[in-house]
């Protein structure tokens, strides 16, 4: 599943008016993080790749965006081991997951 609707509904219930801000922040920060990640991969900077993937992994997990979180986890792991052979491929996957999640969030919330 692309996004966990239950998690998002719970967040919405708890956060009330702040929920819209949360979604907005996630999307705008997500754009920045994806751009930074793209740059890091293109320059093969393992440290930056690991750090950005780690952050994105955590925030997407908190919003119940599990597919994105999972693909970030794999990239973070690879970067930590400094094995960047699949980095480009994983980046594409993350971008596609992020775009899909963004669509789902904008559509449903």
């Amino acid at each position: 599943m692309l996004v966990d609707i239950d998690t998002l509904n719970e967040l919405k219930e708890i956060m009330g008016d702040d929920f819209d801000e949360l979604i907005a922040i996630f999307i705008s920060d997500g754009n920045t993080q994806v751009e930074n990640l793209r740059l890091a991969v293109s320059t093969s900077n393992s440290e930056d790749i690991r750090r950005i993937a780690h952050t994105l992994k955590g925030s997407s997990a908190n919003l119940g965006i599990n597919t994105l979180s999972e693909s970030c986890r794999v990239l973070e792991h690879k970067a930590a081991e400094d094995s960047l052979e699949d980095a480009q491929e994983l980046l594409e996957q993350i971008i596609s997951n992020y775009e899909a999640a963004k669509e789902a969030l904008e559509e449903k919330f």
Binding site: D18, L22, D29, H54, T55, G58, G64
Partner: protein
């Protein structure tokens, strides 16, 4: 409760903040470790949620620094982590983290962890608070003790402990010393010294020194002998110390007029007289003070001849029982061996020669006896911890110096018999509450020295007072006293009549006329009562056969007759005058 969230991710902060606010917490936030330290200082949160990987300063470093800033307060830090790597988790603990919360956050678990840490935090902070109170109490206590000790020292040392002929080493285990050393110059010249060791040590042990020093200094100043002082000290300590607490003590008098040493030793093991070429053990023959009642207590002193520059060495069991690292005690033998250090060996005295004396002659000794004993003790115990109060005193019988002490102090004052007279009136109400006899005795003592306070004189005063009160004011029938039943009746009547007394007075007049051996006291008691037929009574008295047993009622008067040179009544029988001669021992 205020919680600080430290996370570089805005979305995470927003979610956590929402969760915490929902549960009623106040929330503050920081974006990285360095900012967290600033917010921590300005906001003073009760708990911190800390992300690990952050720009500028990571969570490990921020946690380490914050924990260093909060040594006396417990601020729980929960690490927010997506990490599952064991090494990273153990690092969280190493820097001082108290728990973990993994992403994605679960609201229920977060609340449970905060609650648990809040309980721990309360417990810690209670302990810290109690610790702070304890420290503050301790400091307060220490200050009070310091003040108390200064007061204590000034009470204990009005004497002449700092005199040049007294070498003293006092090493109490705590601020207060259970060992007590008192020294005072006698008014007639010479020195009184008291060396004591109360049961136990510390404040409780030292408290008994207050009544003791009072007795010692006041009685010495009034010219009492060490027999009198030791008896009164025993009486007072028995009365005032709790059961099981007593005072081992040695009282010494250096009598420079007669060149003798008088001593009374009750359980002080180390008391010696060093006569230069021989050593005398001033052995204990008594129980410590504060144990025996007055009737069985012995105040008998021993007397030894002394010479100029003889030394008295006194020590409490703290030195004798000092232990070395092997648990061996210093002991009396080692102590006695020390005393042979500067003993002058007479050529014909082979027994002393065989003792372990230092071979070098006294002139080449590099330390005096006092220092030698302390050095030997130090060499023996080395770094071993002291287990009792340690006290050593060496008093040199420097006759000129001691005599000079007395004159310097202005204490060398012999009581010379002089002319004086005092009249005291006691009215009916004061008679009910005051016994005039000790008062009269005390006044005479102040004027003429204690030697006038003789037992027989007290008896005379008591009988004269009873006569004036019983027969003069209370009009009691003394013939009642001839039977045992009547005797009881007499005293019961006396009590009720005294209580009911509403008028009358007794005049007591005492005058002294000095003579060659002391003085002649004229004592008058005059009451406001009706008196009695003096002539009739005198006839009755003379008709009593001397062989018949003395009647209860006649006892007082015959005692007065025995002790006084003359006893006369006025015609109306309300005034009795006795003449009493007293001897001045100072002459």
């Amino acid at each position: 409760m205020k919680i600080l969230i430290v996370d570089d991710d805005r979305a995470n902060r927003l979610i956590l903040s929402a969760y915490l606010k929902k549960d009623g917490y106040t929330v503050v936030a920081a974006e990285n470790g360095l900012e967290a330290i600033g917010v921590f200082q300005s906001e003073g949160p009760d708990l911190i949620l800390m992300d690990v990987m952050m720009p500028v300063m990571d969570g490990y470093e921020a946690t380490r620094r914050i924990k260093m800033m909060t040594v006396d307060k417990f601020i729980p830090i929960i690490f927010l982590t997506a990490m599952t790597d064991e090494k990273a988790l153990s690092q969280c603990v190493e820097v001082g983290g108290d728990d973990f919360l993994t992403k994605p956050y679960n609201r229920t678990i977060l609340k449970a962890k905060i609650d648990a840490l809040e309980r721990v935090s309360q417990l810690y902070n209670t302990v810290f608070q109690q610790k702070r109170e304890l420290i503050s109490h301790y400091e307060h206590e220490a200050k009070e003790q310091e003040v108390a000790r200064k007061v204590f020292d000034s009470i204990l040392n009005p004497g002449c402990l700092s005199s040049d002929n007294i070498q003293l080493h006092l090493s109490p285990m705590s601020l207060f010393n259970g060992d007590v050393v008192l020294a005072a110059v006698k008014p007639t010249g010479g020195l009184h010294i008291l060396f004591g060791d109360f049961t136990g040590h510390g404040l409780a042990a030292s408290l008994g020194a207050l009544p003791l020093s009072d007795v010692f200094y006041s009685m010495t100043a009034k010219g009492y002998s060490i027999s009198d002082i030791v008896r009164e000290s025993n009486h007072k300590l028995k009365q005032q110390l709790p059961t099981g607490m007593f005072l081992a003590a040695c009282l010494v008098e250096i009598d420079t007029n007669n060149m003798v040493l008088k001593y009374w030793n009750g359980a002080i093991p180390g008391a010696f007289l060093h006569k230069g070429d021989s050593i005398v053990d001033l052995k204990s023959k008594n129980l410590p003070l504060g144990i025996l009642g007055d009737s069985v207590f012995s105040d008998k002193v021993d007397i030894i001849e002394i010479h100029d520059r003889d030394r008295i060495i006194l020590t409490t069991d703290g030195i004798l029982e000092a232990e070395n690292s092997d648990g061996k005690m210093f002991g009396l033998e080692r102590f006695e061996a020390c005393l042979h250090y500067d003993l002058k060996v007479a050529s014909d005295n082979l027994t002393i020669n065989s003792l372990p004396a230092d071979d070098s002659p006294p002139s080449e000794l590099d330390a005096d006896l006092f220092q030698h004993i302390l050095d030997t003790l130090d060499d023996f115990t080395l770094e071993q911890e002291q287990t009792d109060d340690v006290t050593l005193g060496v008093i040199t019988c420097d006759i000129n110096y001691i005599n000079q002490l007395a004159s310097q102090k202005g204490a060398y004052k012999k009581f010379v018999p002089t002319h004086w007279k005092f009249d005291l009136y006691f009215f009916y109400d004061s008679i009910k509450s005051i016994d005039p006899v000790p008062l009269v005795n005390q006044i005479m003592g102040e004027i003429q020295g204690h030697q006038i306070q003789q037992d027989h004189l007290s008896t005379v005063l008591t009988e004269m007072f009873c006569n004036s009160l019983d027969h003069g004011l209370l009009e009691l029938d003394s013939s009642l006293k001839s039977t045992p039943e009547g005797f009881m009746q007499f005293y019961s009547d006396k009590e009720s009549r005294l209580n009911g007394l509403e008028s009358g007075s007794i005049l007591i007049s005492v005058s002294n006329a000095p003579n060659d051996t002391g003085g002649e006291l004229t004592i008058v008691f005059e009451d406001s009562g009706k008196g009695f037929d003096v002539k009739k009574m005198q006839n009755e008295m003379s008709s009593v056969d001397k062989d018949t047993p003395i009647k209860f009622s006649g006892r007082g008067l015959s005692l007065i007759n025995n002790y006084c040179q003359s006893v006369t009544y006025n015609d109306s029988g309300n005034r009795i005058e006795c003449v009493y001669s007293w001897l001045n021992n100072d002459i």
